[in-house]
Amino acid sequence: MKLYEFQGKELFRKYGIPVPDGYVITSADEVREVTGEVVIKSQVLVGGRGKAGGIKFAKSREEAIEIAKKLLGSELKGTKINYLLVEEKLNIDKEYYVSITLDRSRRSPIIMASAEGGVEIEEVPDELIYKYWIDPLAGMYPFVARNLAKKLGFTGDTAKQFIKILLALYKIFVEYDAELVEINPLVLTKEGKLVAADSKVIVDSDAEYRHPDLPKNVEDMTPLEKYATERGYAFVELDGDIGVIANGAGLTMATLDALLLHNLRPKTFLDLGGTDSVEKTKNAFEIVLKADPNIIFVNIFGGVTKCSTVAKGILAAKEEFNINVPMVVRLSGVHEEEGRKMLRDAGIEAFGEMMPAVEKVAEIYREVVK
């Protein structure tokens, strides 16, 4: 789960990482008096908001109100802006980058730091990024922060500030079950202070139960994806024609891939998971039908999920929902013959092999859709 910038900065503040003075508003009349210059930052969970026009500067309260009125409620890269963060504008001397994330191949936290901050880290050449891997059992030690401070060129008091920030950042990473904590840019002000000008915090959604204090942000999800997720389906809405229901993430992906290699575009990724429930199968159709596909393709390899159960679910769905699009079903594995017979008796074509079923989908697509 991604945190908004202002939520991440609240954590930073709590752990002693300096952040700019500022406040969050949800309506333009909450803008306070402006002394000097303020930066108004749209709070969205998508990246690249600066380039998309989501960050503005204002020199007076009137100007800030004007900007706030325009931004609040408008859409930025497809997501609605509900919050603005109004902050003092920093006197930037230099921008740095620092983050802690998971290194999948080393199965450890990795700290990355660079003196080339302010840009996307992917754009920084690898030799300018300093890396340290931390043993998650032994934890973080000050020497790591000292060494990185030196590599980044910090001396004296700024080095001390950096060490304190990095130790706090690691503490947040561990105590909040984070997948990523990132400060980009970490600003060195002309006054010689290190300040986290931005925050990016992603918390492991599987560990949310350990953090009841955190808000529940819903990110990058369509209303239908949210609906499906709440009902326990792994579901992604896509922009094609074929509504796919399969079991297992890998097989569902493989089904989508097979369709694409036949020039068919999937409309849904719906993974039934390791269930053996008629009800769950039936309700999957409700979701896929809401996505409004032109054809529904059910691809099941029965193991824990029995083909007969899926067949019952399909028949129940046919009974309950108004399915007026063509449907192709492939059932293989445990109780496959029983499952296919139940469907055939109800007039639904059922395949045992995946490829003939995909070809059938292609054939129907050519006939019906085109």
Binding site: L102, R107, S108, D204, A207, A249, G250, M253, G333
Partner: protein, 288 residues
């Protein structure tokens, strides 16, 4: 003997009285696996499928288990895994999904430093046809033989194994590595074990988008692995930034695409199947 498990592997099931633990222990026994003990705190003294249940791993050690299947709810997995590792069990298989990633990191780092093999989390387990099974793979799809399969998926693995069995390619071992971001053994670890495994003549790797495990496997194959390898990569149609079911299956920041993985494999001579059902056909070509 097969890698990781064989007919003498003595299996403990942690969470044996739960729905998953109980059902799959029964299936494992039917497959011929030696399930020697179960653990559920507070349920000691009972029996499941004729297997004695103990209150703790420490107590269950009297049955001399040397592998464990962890089938407890996600929030208890770390406790269960350390309980097994502290007791001296050297093969820890974690079935449970949605294990917090920081817990997985700690379990796996401890394991690697102590010579313990962890499979999972979120894995369907290991099956060595004719020998043993630890996990939840369906019994009927296997056939004894000399093809090793390592996979990041569940159902897709069954699909491909089933196709292999039908086409006459039996399996020496089938390993589900787990669908999470942080997992114990990965492709390279398995390839290192298969390198000197006399029972394995060919290998099938089933990868998916996310991470760099396939690219690392390709590098290892280039340097040290001589047996024929066929691969399938799921997720070539996946849009970036969308998690395709598995926690690990996500293309983020341009890393972990199917194209990159297929390219890495092709460059070292690994054949790539376009469809899961094509795996046996390609295997026939490379096994000649």
């Amino acid at each position: 003997m097969s890698i990781l498990i064989d007919k003498d592997t003595r299996i403990l099931v942690q969470g044996i009285t739960g729905h998953q633990g109980s059902f799959h222990s029964g299936e494992m026994i039917k497959f011929g696996a030696k399930v020697v003990a179960g653990v559920t705190p507070g349920k000691g003294g009972t029996e499941i499928h004729g297997v004695k249940v103990y209150d703790s791993v420490e107590e269950a050690m009297c049955e001399e288990p040397n592998a464990t299947m962890i089938a407890v709810p996600a929030r208890f997995v770390k406790d269960a895994a350390f309980e097994a590792m502290y007791a001296g069990i050297k093969l820890v298989y974690i079935l449970t999904e949605k294990v917090p990633v920081h817990d997985a990191m700690q379990i796996i780092n401890y394991a690697r430093k102590h010579g313990i093999n962890v499979i999972g989390p979120n894995s369907p387990g290991i099956t060595a046809p004719g020998k043993s099974k630890i996990g939840i793979m369906p019994n009927h799809i296997f056939r004894e033989g000399n093809i090793a399969v390592a996979s990041r998926s569940g159902t897709l693995t069954y699909e491909i194994v089933y196709a292999l069995s039908k086409e006459g390619f039996g399996q020496s071992v089938v390993i589900g590595l787990g669908g999470d971001r942080i997992i114990g053994l990965d492709f390279v670890d398995i390839l290192k074990m298969l390198k000197d495994d006399d029972e394995t003549k060919g290998v099938v790797l089933i990868g998916e988008i996310g991470g760099t495990a396939e690219e690392e496997a390709a590098e290892y194959i280039k340097k040290e692995f001589d047996k024929p390898v066929v691969a399938y990569i799921a997720g070539r149609s996946a849009p970036p930034g969308k998690r395709m079911g598995h926690a690990g299956a996500i293309i983020s920041r341009g890393r972990g695409t199917a194209e990159s993985k297929m390219r890495a494999f092709r460059e070292v001579g690994v054949r790539i199947a376009d469809y899961p059902q094509d795996v046996p056909k390609l295997l026939k070509e490379v096994m000649k």
